[in-house]
Symmetry: C2
DNA sequence: ATTTAGCACTCGGACGATAAGAGTGCTAAC
DNA sequence: GTTAGCACTCTTATCGTCCGAGTGCTAAAT
């Protein structure tokens, strides 16, 4: 167990290191107002803290630097509640007071705010559409053999996909098909759409259309194949400003990782229910071992829609970032809620 | 005027420097098979080439490095026609043999091919929709006060935008409006859509709708306000592999510039008709003064749709990149042509 | 029994000297 | 006109030295 004095010293070391990125020595600690004891005492305590693994030396006679275990302890036990500044609250409020009517717009702006306020990199996983319901289906023929299928959800989300019309299918059939599907599939949750589509088609199509299987295959492809993940990244260049990334090879490996959108999306999806902090090696992705990732979720009612995250060095302003993510995810959820 | 020998030496210097990124000395040049004269002779010629500004020293006793003027001359006069390797042609062919039905898909894959084959960063300006014509307009009501407007062009391009329905407008009016607009605006070029919309509305709306101005304002906003530019960037991390970018501050300024999507798009738009090479200071954007940008256009018939570009260090494989851009822009144009 | 002052010790970073190597320009010979 | 030879220049790497920041330990002070 850590003594009160050790807690204080650990806190000072981490707070200070987060600001300066420089190893902290006993003398510097003793100069802090809240610290009343001498450098020698502090050195003794630091030796203990090091033995327990909370802090490290960069070389045998250097000041101390927080270890990952130290950050973990700091995040779990030492975070003082952080109050956002007036400016920060204003930036958020002003942005959300503009009229926004689309998910994408809200998400994009949120990413921007986050990266601008923190100088870290923000990553937001766009809302998944699978909990929404079908509002309307359209198939618009562009040329004899080309058509575009459009799917609109109750949330105003629009997906579209071009597909080639098999020669066996008549344009008039196509129209009939769409009308029937709209009648029968309206308000069906998108997540059930695939099954329902198959079912409805089985029951109905034989009499109207020559080639059921083909129509099904094409519609299925048009509507359900590999919807691209939506990842909104803002402020990637902020990483370059951090002194821990003065090494180009580190930048390269991190940026390469971020180019893998699918892996990133999977990772973000895995963080559910509230705020998560992954420090250094705790991160799932190897390339992020020098970083911390803080995530929060935004939702519509009880349904979690997506994840917002901030990526920075392990030496991160945890308190402020957590408050910001909290405020912003609430604000996003609130906005979405107000639409329905 | 440059002598034959000077041309040869200049060519060897640039070719070699493009490979190695190291200053080239007289001895290295003399070892090349095509060079038959001694280092001393070469040194004399190099002194002349330097005086004329085609090459430079990095310090008083270093080998020579091409100047921007040197690269310019090289690109204008010394480029030997470059034949793409079998592998390169295969990569392109294989990609384009997959069924692709949407502009976006073609453009995205092209960007990927380019960056992968060259190890530079590819930037593609998505096709502008303004030369296409309206295929269909849809307005789908989501809730009493919210609707989404969808615009489909003859090329299968889909734009959509949510908007709030002014309380003065009845849902039935909305439907009438869409029907009428579809009747009257079908096949109108998108570029004229705005004017035509205004005209048609002026003539027709008064009798059907209470509030013409309001409807017009909303529709206009829904359909024409700030369509986001579409910029497809691939292989940004490739830049990090270039030895000229071992300095983080250079990376930062370049990446920051690339985050300005609007400025980038404007720049790319300004290159029309064939292949353009901007070397170092010739670049419009200050942040690209250490880079070269090579652009080509892709088209549909006679209509140029967009620009594909490669960004790399001034020490770029110009011949190969130009051939690749040529091949790829043709291939893209061809694919688009085959759709219509 | 803590806490602190004092002190020897360690290590990194900055500085300077030195040596090696690559490359040049110039001169004189071919 | 071309080339060999050579003195000179500049970069880079390596090594020794010095300084300062910071530590750990011991002994004195509280």
């Amino acid at each position: 167990m850590l003594s009160k004095r050790q807690l204080l010293i650990l806190q000072v070391i981490i707070d200070e290191f987060i600001q300066t990125a420089q190893p902290i020595g006993s003398r510097a600690i003793s100069k802090k107002d809240e610290v009343t004891f001498s450098p020698a005492t502090i050195r003794n305590e630091m030796a203990d803290l090091e033995e327990m693994g909370f802090i490290e030396k960069t070389h045998s006679s250097s000041g101390r630097v927080p270890s990952e275990k130290g950050y973990r302890f700091y995040v779990d036990h030492l975070l003082s509640p952080f109050h956002l500044s007036k400016t920060e609250m204003h930036v958020i409020s002003n942005t959300f007071e503009e009229e926004m009517l689309e998910f994408e717009q809200v998400v994009q702006k949120s990413a921007k705010i986050l990266s601008e306020l923190t100088n870290y990199t923000s990553i937001i996983l766009g809302p998944k559409v699978y909990e929404t319901t079908l509002k309307q289906l359209e198939i618009i023929q562009l040329s004899p053999h080309l058509a575009v299928a459009i799917l609109v959800t109750n949330t105003g989300h629009v997906e579209h996909r071009s597909f080639s019309i098999p020669t066996e299918i008549e344009p008039s059939d196509l129209e009939k098909l769409v009308n029937m599907l709209n009648e029968r599939l309206k308000n069906v949750p998108i997540i059930h759409l695939h099954d329902r589509l198959k079912k409805e088609l089985t029951v109905l199509m034989h009499k109207y259309m020559n080639d059921f299987d083909l129509a099904y295959q094409y519609l299925k492809a048009a509507l359900f194949d590999e919807q691209p993940v939506q990842l909104y990244v803002s402020g990637i260049t902020n990483i370059l400003l951090q002194p821990e990334f003065k090494d180009v090879s580190k930048i390269h490996s991190l940026y390469s990782a971020m180019e893998q959108e699918d892996a990133m999306a999977d990772m973000l999806r895995s963080y559910k229910n509230g705020i998560h902090v992954s420090i250094g090696q705790e991160n799932i992705m190897d390339e992020m071992q020098d970083c911390s990732l803080i995530t929060a979720n935004y939702s519509l009612g009880n349904q979690q829609l997506g994840t917002i995250a901030l990526l920075g060095p392990t030496r991160m302003e945890y308190a402020r970032v957590i408050s910001l993510l909290h405020a912003l995810s609430n604000r996003m959820s609130h906005t979405f809620h107000s639409w329905f």
